[in-house]
């Protein structure tokens, strides 16, 4: 078991290097440079000044040399400094030690994704199970339609509709941001309430689109398990249906979902980019969006690397979870 884990972790290293090399090259292949924002169409910019700037950012060297320099720093866990004119270390931008934990960008994104994940599971598993047990019933059809509507609807569009309805028309929920202007003056309970009310819409949007996938998986996996002989045996023993489904069938039916959770991490991180930009949430996704717009290479690379690590870790955890949950797989290793 330990040997297997070690092997898996070691395997992650070349994969990670591959991911970063490809990302690095693609980013640099895209037209435009970080210096454009200062230099493009600025009549006060001479060609010499432009060269000076490019040299200052180290952009005069070939891409592969720049990648080598980047990699050399990364092994020392130094992600470099942002190219935006504040020149702050990129790590400080996503994990600012001066801020309370709850306001650090990486944490904000992580928190929203974890909450959404929990919400997705809490809703999609019961939907999946009941759809399977009530297969082809009216309930099944309504649920199927609902989750697919959520799946098909562009999330930013739905977000705007909900913001208008709950934020302006009803005035129940804040429209954007993570906390109110008067946050500091609120009591502790008030602060908690303030934060929660800011998270309702973003979490709803992040979850709604993913319900379809997970509940459908759950449904089909459940259907498959129900057809198996041991379920028939359980029923034949005279066990109540509730116990048959929730004790005997559910355990096996949950297995494929573990993999699914591991695989959904990149999707959630990608979704954060759109979500955080619309809702004005100061997280990692919003930072990625702004960095791409200004071609802030070190910042983009840092976020992509963190995303890659999270994805690889997610896969690893899914495999471990699978092993823990299923003795058959454990035996194979």
């Amino acid at each position: 078991m330990l040997k297997y884990l070690l092997k898996r972790i070691l395997e992650m290293i070349p994969t990670l290097i591959g991911i970063t090399l490809i990302s690095f090259t693609i980013i640099h292949l895209a037209p435009g440079k970080p210096t454009d924002i200062l230099a493009d169409f600025n009549p006060k910019m001479t060609p010499e000044a432009r060269e000076r700037l490019e040299k200052y950012y180290g952009l005069d060297k070939p891409v592969i040399v720049q990648y080598g320099m980047w990699l050399k720093r990364i092994v020392r866990l130094d992600f470099g400094e942002s190219f935006s004119s504040d020149r702050r270390p990129v790590m400080q931008k996503i994990w600012d030690k001066k801020q309370p934990l709850i306001d650090r960008r990486l944490f904000v994104t992580f928190m929203i994704n974890v909450i959404s994940m929990i919400v997705i599971l809490l809703i999609s598993i019961p939907i999946g199970i009941t759809s399977a047990t009530h297969r082809n019933s009216l309930y099944d059809k309504i649920m199927t339609t609902t989750v697919f509507v959520g799946f098909a609807m562009p999330s930013f569009w739905l977000a705007l509709l909900l913001m208008m309805f709950f934020g302006i028309y009803l005035g129940w929920l804040p429209i954007s941001g993570l906390k109110s202007m008067n946050y500091k003056t609120l009591s502790f309970a008030g602060q908690v309430f303030d934060r929660v009310s800011h998270l309702v819409l973003p979490v709803f949007i992040a979850s709604f689109g993913s319900l379809a996938g997970d509940s459908r998986y759950m449904r089909s996996s459940m259907l498959e398990v129900i057809r198996q002989d041991y379920i028939t045996v359980a029923r034949a023993k005279g066990l109540p249906e509730r116990i048959v489904i929730y004790r005997h069938a559910l355990r096996n039916a949950l297995l494929p979902l573990i993999t699914l959770i591991g695989l959904s991490i990149p999707g959630l991180i990608g979704g954060s980019v759109i979500l955080e930009s619309i809702f004005g949430i100061p997280g990692m996704g919003q930072l990625l969006f702004m960095s791409v717009m200004t071609r802030d290479y070190p910042m983009i690379m840092c976020i992509l690397t963190i995303g890659a690590i999270l994805t690889l870790l997610g896969n690893l955890l899914a495999d471990i979870g699978y092993m823990l949950a299923d003795p058959r797989i454990r035996a194979q290793q």
Binding site: A30, P31, G32, K33, D36, I37, L38, A39, D40, F41, N42, P43, K44, M45, T46, P47, A49, R50, R52, L53, Y56, S84, S85, D86, R87, K93, D96, Q99, D103, R105, P154, F156, L160, L161, M163, M164, G167, I168, Y169, L170, G171, I175, S176, G177, L178, K179, M181, T185, S277, I278, F279, G280, I281, P282, G283, Q286, F289, M290, T294, R295
Partner: protein
């Protein structure tokens, strides 16, 4: 762009149901009767987050607008566009125009209490000229031969040649506190995020990705601003910003033409907000590649100018929020020449000119030909700017009517600039220039500025214009300069290297409780420290 379109659709979709319940806000009565008082907070929505608050390092407009509240320059523009003193009380220019001596205000203090002196200007000047400072604004200061500080309150610069834009280049770019930054690398310093300035506001708190809170500077040399706090809320999405405005989350933003003319024409907005409108210092134009065989002939360019109806473009694209342009200056400013050739919409005249130039429709497809080559070209513009895209579409339609076939291609900005503009691979482009308040446009029109990455990318070459540009930047006499720039506009109007299309209007909206806003040709924010909220309408209370 897509997002904005969706939003437009959404508004129409919802407007029946969504009458916009007024947020708990002030009841507007007692209109400013109680005179200026201190207090309240102004919240402005900003799409981008500032990256640095050191003006000379900043490239983005968000950084400049916040830094502009914290740092002042030596001189500034008066509402009539004349130059007046800011940190400099007065200045003398030597007869030959080579020496400018600024006499600084006495007793101005940095926010930490240290007095502002000529050494600080000297320090800023040396920093911006430093090889190692990554700034886009060096060039004006490299023209200086020598700078000196004869005493604490005098800063003197000596130029190689007289340089008219010189005076107005002494803005907040070069005002930095020497006692805090002397001997330090400004690019690797906390100062960019915790600046100490001397302007009307000082930075109180900057929460990355969320907001910047500025507090009023009680010792501001022009008097303490009435509004106690100025908050910039960072909301990257324009649709969200507009909803925040309705919900009371922000007090001030710039409106799009459709928001100005349609979406804010409701009772709710009329009661709770005040809208403003004034020309922006910029113009949108269609530029021809003068090296391209199609556009070498002046008559062809003039014909295209006659074929377009500028006021139609303003009405359709900008919903009337702008004015037709006749040259590279904003109407009603001193360098603007109102009496140039106007090219009133006249398709018949356009056809006639094209015929004179040898273009005629021969093979019956309705498209003009000359030497077997059909008259068709592509207009390039940048992606994501719906105003330009729409303008191009109208031009396409108008030119089709006189037998010219036009294609439109919108490209991502960097690709557009690097692959097409810089390599001169274009026939015509639709672009805009932001213009400074100084009329010097040497870099855009002078024939020496045609290399790659330079700004005369259309390869315009006219010795008379070259001489006039030179003349205009070498004298400080407004009368002389005016003569030069008037003549340049006449030549440009005759030769049509660009078709000057329109000057758009800025359309900010501000909550109605703010009083004392006086619109002027340079906008509304110039007197922001004098805005105030009558006590009865105050919305935000601050624990002092």
């Amino acid at each position: 762009m897509k997002k904005i379109l969706f939003f437009v659709f959404l508004i129409c979709f919802f407007s029946a149901a969504c009458k916009g319940k007024p947020p708990a806000g002030p009841i507007l009565s007692n209109d400013g009767a109680d005179g200026p008082v201190y207090g309240d907070t102004l919240i402005e929505g900003t799409i981008g987050e500032p990256s640095t608050l050191i003006p000379m390092l900043a490239g983005d407009s968000a950084s400049h607008s916040v830094a502009g509240m914290i740092f002042n320059g030596l001189v500034k523009y008066h509402t009539d566009l004349s130059v007046i003193g800011d940190l400099a009380e007065s200045w003398d220019i030597s007869r030959d125009g080579l020496v400018i001596s600024f006499h600084l205000r006495k007793g101005v203090k940095w926010a930490d209490g240290v007095e502002f002196t000529a050494d600080d200007v000297m320090f800023g000047f040396n920093t911006i000229r430093d090889e190692k400072t990554p700034t886009a604004y060096k060039e004006d200061f490299l023209q200086v031969k020598k700078a000196e500080t004869p005493d604490k309150y005098t800063f003197r610069v000596i130029y190689e040649k007289p340089f008219a834009p010189a005076l107005t280049s002494w803005t907040n770019l070069v005002v930095l506190p020497k006692h805090l930054l002397g001997g330090k690398d400004i690019t690797k310093n906390d100062f960019a995020r915790n600046p100490v300035g001397l302007g009307p506001y000082k930075l109180d708190k900057w929460t990355a990705g969320q907001d910047l809170v500025l507090a009023s500077n009680r010792d501001y040399f022009e008097g303490r601003p009435y509004i106690d706090r100025y908050v910039y809320r960072i909301i990257p999405d324009a649709a969200t910003t507009f909803m925040e405005l309705q919900a009371g989350g922000i007090d001030m933003m710039g409106l799009t033409p459709i928001q100005y003319t349609k979406q804010t024409e409701t009772d709710f907005f009329k009661k709770n907000f005040q809208k403003f409108r004034y020309p922006v210092f910029s113009y949108t134009h269609m530029a021809f590649n003068l090296k391209h065989p199609l556009f070498k002939d002046k008559k062809v360019r003039q014909a295209i100018a006659y074929a377009l109806d500028k006021s139609e473009i303003v009405d359709v694209v900008l919903f009337g929020l702008g004015s037709p342009a006749t040259g590279p200056y904003v109407p009603n400013t001193w360098p603007y020449n109102p009496d140039v050739k106007k090219y009133e919409f006249n398709p018949a005249k356009a056809k006639e000119l094209l015929r004179e130039a040898g273009w005629a429709a021969r093979d019956g497809d309705g498209i003009l030909e000359k030497d077997g080559r059909p008259f068709s070209f592509t207009i390039l513009t940048n992606m994501g700017n719906s105003l330009r895209k729409n303008t191009a579409t109208i031009i396409q339609w108008r030119l089709a009517k006189i037998g010219i076939s036009v294609e439109i291609k919108a490209l991502e900005w960097s690709t557009f600039v690097n692959e097409f503009i810089d390599k001169r691979r274009f026939e015509a482009v639709l672009l805009g220039w932001s213009i400074g308040l100084d009329p010097d446009q040497y870099d855009i029109w002078h024939s020496s500025k045609t290399k790659s990455k330079e700004f005369n990318f259309i390869s315009y070459n006219n010795p008379e214009v070259d001489a006039l540009l030179e003349q205009g930047r070498r004298t400080f006499d407004i009368g002389e300069r005016k003569k030069a720039y008037f003549r340049i506009q006449e030549i440009l109007a005759e030769e049509v290297p660009y078709i000057f299309l329109y000057v758009p209007d800025a359309t900010p909206i501000v909550h109605a409780r703010f009083k004392g806003i006086k619109p002027s040709p340079i906008g509304i924010s110039y007197n922001q420290p004098k805005w105030y909220v009558p006590e009865s309408m105050r919305r935000h209370h601050i624990d002092q």
